[in-house]
């Protein structure tokens, strides 16, 4: 018979106490090591006459950046350079995640299609883009495809409004005029109404089994209502058309080729992985599920959307999260083609101009860590919601 726990056991022989001591010692050791490294680095930097600290963030950066989402000039500070770079990183990552998800799901589902040609094309897509290094693909899109486009004077044009040339894609810039607010208000109302309608339809279906055309009605409202408001208020939107003046197009919005190349490469490369994840997710759903849904007369479209994909999602989401994180981190390859992302303008040019490697690299690492952890947390919330509820 085991001895009952007794208070006579000496403190140092209790497992809980010993575990606590070991953990505390480990933590103290780690803190001491980090403190030693930081102290050593600081004293070495001082001994070598290298300026330290974060004061440089307030100084004038003095260089220009080809693409900025916020106002920026050579007179802006390094802190603003950092924000510009961060926004550019978020822009290309966000665009990449959306495109990679759409392409990835389409290709992944196509790969399982009974249509032989479609399935083989999807397989070829995956095998080609998954097995070529991303950097090579970025350089391919940039130097082989986009740099081979014609010069501004020989631009490819669509209706003399959209132009494509070696300097990028130039589209007309919308300029809202007085009264455009009505259209925006209509859009907000339409979105709210669609959500309300979808909730109502779901409840109606749960109660009566009657299915309403939620997607069609939602789309009609979101497109139709603002359009109606736009026409009624007298089309209060003008366009600044791009015009070839001097060296370049003036007016309009220019999407620089660096952004296009990076976006294409990131989206397609990541999509090839997402396609495989989607395929494995779908194949993980037992065949009986499909057979059962066909047996009760559901169409193959409904079967895929309402039976297979929801069950596949719990396999897909965790892996999808890592692909999103990979895409965000891979966007730092921007520096290879001069897209002004965080690494290129902050950890690259700013570092070189100020020479403050430790501070800038530390900030950059902290930023990527924060972005990655945030995305991961969001995806975990989504994952928890899509888990099969056991009742």
């Amino acid at each position: 018979m085991p001895k009952p726990p007794s208070s006579h056991v000496p403190l140092w022989r209790r497992p809980a106490f010993r575990a606590l001591i070991i953990q505390a010692l480990l933590l103290a050791g780690l803190v001491a090591l980090i403190a030693m490294m930081v102290g050593n680095a600081l004293s070495n930097l001082e001994a070598r006459g290298i300026t330290t600290g974060f004061g440089f963030l307030g100084e004038r950066a003095g260089f220009s950046i080809p693409q900025t989402l916020i106002d920026y000039s050579g007179d802006s500070t390094y802190a603003r350079t950092f924000v510009v770079g961060l926004l550019n990183t978020l822009l290309v990552s966000g665009m990449g995640i959306v495109a990679a998800t759409i392409i990835g799901f389409a290709v992944g589902i196509a790969r399982l299609s009974p249509n032989w040609v479609l399935a083989r094309l999807a397989s070829a897509f995956v095998e080609i883009f998954r097995n070529i290094p991303l950097l090579v693909q970025i350089l391919f899109w940039y130097f082989a495809v986009l740099q081979a486009l014609p010069s501004p004077r020989q631009s490819l044009s669509l209706m003399e409004a959209v132009f494509l040339n070696v300097r990028g894609l130039i589209v007309p810039a919308p300029v809202p005029e007085a009264g455009f607010g009505l259209t925006l208000t209509a859009l907000v109302i339409a979105i709210a109404a669609s959500i309300g309608f979808a909730l109502y339809a779901r409840r109606l279906q749960a109660r009566t089994g009657k299915a309403l055309p939620v997607y069609w009605c939602g789309a009609a409202m979101i497109i139709g209502l603002p359009l109606l408001a736009f026409v009624v208020s007298g089309a209060p939107l003008s366009w600044v058309m791009p015009e070839l003046k001097g060296f370049n197009f003036r007016g309009g919005v220019t999407v620089i080729p660096e952004l296009m190349a990076l976006w294409l490469a990131l989206s397609i490369y990541t999509a090839s992985f997402i396609a495989e994840i989607v395929r494995s997710g779908i194949q993980s759903v037992p065949k009986g599920q499909v057979e059962a849904s066909r047996a009760i007369g559901l169409s193959s479209n409904i079967t895929l959307r309402k039976v297979v994909i929801p069950q596949a999602m719990r396999v897909i989401v965790p892996q999808l999260t890592s692909q999103y994180l990979n895409l965000i981190k891979n966007s730092s390859l921007a520096t290879a083609i001069g897209y002004p992302d965080l690494v290129a303008v902050f950890a690259g040019t700013s570092l070189n101009q100020t020479g403050q490697a430790i501070e800038i690299i530390a900030i950059t690492m902290a930023v990527y860590l924060t972005i990655s952890l945030s995305v991961s947390a969001l995806m975990n919330v989504y994952n928890a919601r899509t888990l099969i509820k056991e009742r």
Partner: protein, 343 residues
Amino acid sequence: MKRNNNKMLISLSVAALSLGMATVASAATLDEVKQRGNLNCGVNVGLSGFSSPDADGQWQGLDVETCRALSSAIFGDPDKVVFTPLTAKERFTALQSGEIDVLARNTTWTATRDNSLGLNFTTTTFYDGQGFMVSKDLGVSSLEDLGGASICIQSGTTHELNLADYFPSKGIEINTATFDTPDQTASGFASGRCDVLTSDTSQLSALRLQLPEPDSVEIMTQLISKEPLGPVVRQGDDQWFNIVKWTVFAMVNAEELGVTSDNAEQMQSDPPNPQVARLLGGDGNYGEQLGLGNDWAYNIVSQVGNYGEVFEDTVGANSPLKISRGMNALWDQGGILYAPPIR
């Protein structure tokens, strides 16, 4: 790929800075170089005339010859140099962290770089200025005509800063496209990504030769900056600082005194005047003052050449670049090249 090296270099340098930099800083660079048996020299990844590998894979150029002269001064052998090709962004970290002993990579001497990076600029080996290269058929004659133009530029250079200083202050709007290496910048210009390529005029002369049709472009005469280029060392080692400085001075003095690689041997045995005798080690202990042998300057000139010889062979008349001496002529020949005397 270079890209990976770059990242690795930065992270390694950060690690080096945090852990073991004190050892690099305190040790005398000369002793370390002698013990290692070779000089580690940081150069450009490929810039014709300054440092680029030739058909046999040997590094050639003005910056390369500076490193070789330094090797001659230390070892009496110009070939004990290990060249580390560095991009503009990598160069200072490589020097700070001790990966290289000296940086001879067409680097502009500026106040920030000299004062806050823990570096010392030794002296100027090439006086340059930032210029502009355009296609001839654009019909551009002055910088004022460049409003709205796209300009290709190398990231992490003083050129980026000069450009942002110059055009906005003149009220001229320009666009930029930045690239990482001179090669990429040139290919961006060649493909039409930009109308104008800006860099030091010496670089423009070199990059022009890489273009498919070098004669279709012209280098504009207007300059917007001073770009004194020269070798750089770490702060805190005065002996090493002096060695690099005086290696260059020896080459300039040799040209001024008419000592060449051909006549150095004869001049050493029979110096025509006391100045030559002091330079070539026949009088005084000027080499020993630097911690080198007394024949240090003799070795430099006989094995590598004087400044004029090196200039003409790498960037001047005997090279494809054909850059004229201009500002880089000796002070007594209309230029601003002026080395302190050896005495």
